[in-house]
């Protein structure tokens, strides 16, 4: 798994590629926690290049989303497709999280 982030104004756009499994998921959590600690509270996570996500990945997503909620922040997801979309739908994550067609659409909602 590879994580790259860039800032669009005050929003962090985080691109995750590869596979988010029980070994790599903590990397996602660490990266976002680090940015939250540094003051970022708006995130768009781009899953365009993500092939695969297991329950360990969802655990990391949920934990950081909770941390963000407490700070009044938000996280939106873009390009949730294929197997990752299946997992989002099965787990209900597709309903409890904001999912967008593209990074641009997600950014527009943050405004």
């Amino acid at each position: 798994m590879e994580i790259i982030s860039r800032m669009e104004k005050d929003t962090a756009v985080v691109t995750v590629t590869g596979r988010m499994d029980a070994i790599s998921a903590p990397q996602y959590q660490d990266k976002l926690n680090e940015m939250i600690t540094a003051g970022t509270i708006a995130f768009v996570v781009d899953f365009d290049g993500l092939d695969y996500i297991s329950s360990a990945g969802l655990r990391g997503i949920l934990a950081t989303a909770k941390a963000l909620k407490i700070k009044g922040g938000q996280v939106r997801f873009a390009n949730v497709r294929g197997t990752v979309k299946e997992v989002f739908e099965m787990s209900g994550f597709g309903s409890i999280f904001q999912v967008h067609e593209s990074v641009a659409a997600a950014l527009a909602k943050i405004g």
Partner: protein
Amino acid sequence: MDPMAMTCKALLENLDEVLGFIESCADRFGLKENRKFGLLIAVEEAFVNVCHYAYGDKEGEAELVCSGDGGSFVVEIADRGIEFNVLSLPDPDTTTNIMERKIGGLGVFFIRKMTDDLSYQRKDGRNILRMVLHAHDDSATS
């Protein structure tokens, strides 16, 4: 496809090797890419659970066997840990909101959802979980 087997300590650090092995067998069998990722998730959840729960504080082994059975790809994962039947768990609640939501029971739920056919056997002190994927995407994740 003739059966191929891999055995290793049930430790999280072996996950990459386990998934690599399953993936190369699935490629050989010719499982389609999207079905393969679903299978890898199911195998990850099953292997991680054996690592976490099967042997308590002790160390133990996990054995994986891949084979082709007509038009189906079959993965069996076996351990010698405490008896546990994946099929006995209820489905988790997937509707609660972010703050209330706990993740528990999703692993086993994914195993059930990502396979076309799932069976469990306790035999000679071993848990044997058999996951079947049909080569053709007829009854998947329904």
